[in-house]
Amino acid sequence: MKVIDTGNHIAALAAKMARPEVIAAYPITPQTTVVERLAQYVERGELDAEFIRVESEHSAMAACIGASATGVRTFTATASHGLLLMHEMIHWAALARLPIVMINVNRAIGPGWNIWSDMNDSMAQRDTGWIQFYVSSNQEIFDTVIQAYRIAEHEDVMLPVMVSYDGFILSHTSMAVDVPEQEKVDSFLHEFNSMWKLDSSHPITHGNIIMPDDYMEVRYSMKKAMDNAMKIIEEVDEEYGKKFGRSYGLVEEYKTEDADYVIVATSAIASEARVAIDVLREKGKKAGLARLRVHRPMPFSRFNYDKMIVIDRAVSLGLGNGGIIYNELKSRGDVYGFVAGLGGKDVNYKDIVKMYEMAEKGKEGWYGVEVD
């Protein structure tokens, strides 16, 4: 069925169709309509689940942890400061190996308060042990949320998954989305499955004091799970493709085969870049695009291009020019990095064309600020 709706409502719809048993979330712009819609589904009886209207995001993630540890599928959504306030519990969920799925609607961090798209919020969680997706369309939001549960709950993975997309640009933009039948989704997702659970008939304790050797093993097993995830993500995506007719991969390539320079970007900018590629090609430039869809695990091996132009909407200040993906990919070839679109500054295909042309001249840096 074709549905036309905002990214947030599509996210809520996908979550609903994944049949979580417990949802705990706290409102924050621009995520709010995800939560509102889910509350509505639950109150109208369209989704048979418990909705916990927590009093903060720290509690939202804690409640998901409690529910997941008790053995049910969970969902939450947040953005920006909400995500930051969860930070402690985000680490916790990963170390506890609980397959929680979370939407993060990317929004800049304050002060000053800025409600627009910027990926510093989720990128600042890159070291927490979560699998992280960055998606580019409402359709992909839907498909990725469903995939996320399969991946998170896969016995070789058992890690939480975060699906991020640009605030307003996707969250509040209506686009057409193909929504499959509930039965098809049901048959794609398996019964909830977890690595451990609390059950009074088999009492265990989770999370008491752990000594160094065991701790290092726990961390190593998470590393292995991430390694596995790289494969599982592709397998799940392929199976999804067979069933639903859409798949995306870890990195989505566009005209890269003969490209002189490959633009690397995520999310909305990556979509917009596709238009820029067409413009550049018309100009006779051999431009290509590699859209990074999965940032953790980072699919390093997919980046075998001679020359790359990385556009970052998040920065690690004090790390060269700051671009996070740029810095991570720097070792993979000749890389030009641009930081653009922070705090929701609009980045359109013309800007991207300009960046391309700057890179050709060996330039890189921050795009769109008066650099003195």
């Binding site: 605030g167 307003f168 640009i169 933009t173 209506s174 686009m175 057409a176 359109n348």
Partner: protein, 182 residues
């Protein structure tokens, strides 16, 4: 072909709804790419606001804001005192105004159309809290210039408000479709 539209109105006036209904109607008419989105501001009720729509027969990859629209729709001509609605409008672009005046009375250097959406709303008794709802008639009018069938518009309206309310709004759209002048 890609058409980009900006709706100008006030916070609470339903510009985003108009953009949404239009996008839905366009989808029904077989357009593969449709988008509708608000201006991403922090505005409160009453303040002038914008909404956007993109319609294309192909998948749309654009994610940026619209700065050079093909069509500009003005839901409330009062805001023209505050801002220049022709800003960025393409040379061969169209301005559609909610007004009972004739297009030429506005003296724009652009192709201009008018429709008395307020009048139609009052006539069709779609008034909320004393304020006429102009977004459904306006969509009827804009559809005409986009070659979108009025039936699709009405269908889209009925989907949003099933029942009585939808019918009245659909009728208003139909009337506007018929009455718009350019």
């Amino acid at each position: 072909m890609l058409t980009e539209i900006i709706f100008y109105g006030r916070g609470g006036q339903g510009g985003v709804t108009a953009a949404n209904i239009l996008a839905n109607a366009a989808l029904k008419d077989g357009n593969k790419g449709v988008q509708a989105f608000p201006f991403f501001g922090a505005e409160r009720r009453g303040a002038p606001v914008r909404a956007f729509a993109r319609i294309s027969d192909e998948e749309i990859y654009l994610r940026s804001q619209i700065t050079e629209p093909d069509i500009v729709v003005v839901l409330d001509t009062g805001i023209m005192d505050v801002l220049d609605v022709t800003n960025g409008l393409k040379k061969d672009g169209l301005i559609l105004l909610n007004s009972n005046k004739k297009p030429e009375e506005f003296g724009f250097d652009f192709r201009t159309a008018t429709v008395d959406a307020t009048g139609i709303a009052i006539e069709q008794e779609i008034v909320v809290g004393g304020i006429p709802v102009v977004n459904t008639p306006i969509v009827g009018a804009v559809a005409k210039f986009l070659g979108i069938s009025i039936d699709s518009v009405k269908e889209a309206i009925m989907e949003r408000w099933p029942g009585k309310a939808g019918e009245k709004n659909a009728r208003a759209a139909q009337l506007a479709y018929e009455k718009v002048i350019s």
